[in-house]
């Protein structure tokens, strides 16, 4: 099967709507089909990967831990909007330390998250075959 470049735009926070967890589902499906997958976290989507989420008090599944598995599916391009972080009083230090093992570099552990400005993000989006917004 031909490989396409897929980008998933995550624009909403984790628990208020079903979008965040459904996005993660289709991301994993695309990975199973060995597509070239990128994720972008913009607007309230940046809250999906904030470190220290604890959903015990609301009776919902804390699926944020699933993001740690993305590296094993060769999903290692996670772009986070710098503007969206700043607007929300957040910085890169507030995000989960998501990593992958680089097979071309003796399986060295490397960060998957890259904080980018929107101008850079728009360039990355224009290079995709498919952009899906959640």
């Amino acid at each position: 099967m031909a490989t396409k470049k897929f980008m998933y735009l995550n624009r909403r926070s984790s628990f208020g709507t079903i979008y965040a967890i459904e996005s993660l589902e289709v991301v994993l499906i695309a990975a199973a089909f060995e597509q070239d997958v990128s994720l972008a976290f913009i607007d309230d989507g940046v809250y999906q990967i904030v470190e220290g989420q604890n959903a015990d008090g609301i009776g919902m599944k804390n699926f944020s831990k699933t993001f740690h598995a993305l590296g094993d599916y060769d999903i290692n391009k996670l772009y986070v909007s710098a503007e969206s972080l700043e607007e929300r009083g957040l910085s890169a230090d507030d995000l989960m330390p998501l990593v992958y093992e680089d097979e071309d570099d003796d399986w060295a552990e490397k960060p998957s998250i890259k904080v980018v400005f929107n101008v850079e993000l728009s360039k990355i989006m224009s290079e995709q075959d498919v952009c899906l917004s959640f």
Binding site: R12, S13, S14, F15, G16, T17, D43, D44, Y47, V50, E51, G52, Q53, N54, A55, D56, G57, I58, M60, N62, S64, E86, E87, R88, G89, L90, D94
Partner: protein
């Protein structure tokens, strides 16, 4: 009155609509994605005055779920589900800005 806001102020205008109509005796409870407005961010000034008066509550479970416990704006009062019930009883008419 009790005003309940459950949407992020970055995504919807329900917090703004609520602020446009809330009177001097009413209180606000932020739940679900509404608690995003309880964090220190560029929208925090929207409710700062109300919070100083001790009239802004946020549901603790929703705050913890979103990982923003350590980033709350000043003067936000955290409540659990029992506190939620107390607010409803105490303030009579409740409006949910869904």
């Amino acid at each position: 009155m009790l005003h309940i806001v459950n949407k992020s102020s970055f995504e919807r205008n329900s917090l703004k609509s609520c602020l446009n109509t809330i009177d001097d005796t009413s209180v606000m409870l932020l739940i679900e994605d509404g608690v995003i407005s309880a964090a220190k961010n560029t929208n925090a000034p929207m409710i700062a005055d109300l919070a100083v008066q001790g009239r802004v509550y946020a549901l603790q479970g929703d705050v913890e779920a979103r990982g923003i416990s350590s980033k709350l704006a000043d003067n936000i009062k955290l409540v659990g589900y029992a506190g939620f019930v107390d607010l409803v009883v105490e303030h009579g008419t409740a409006v949910s800005w869904v």
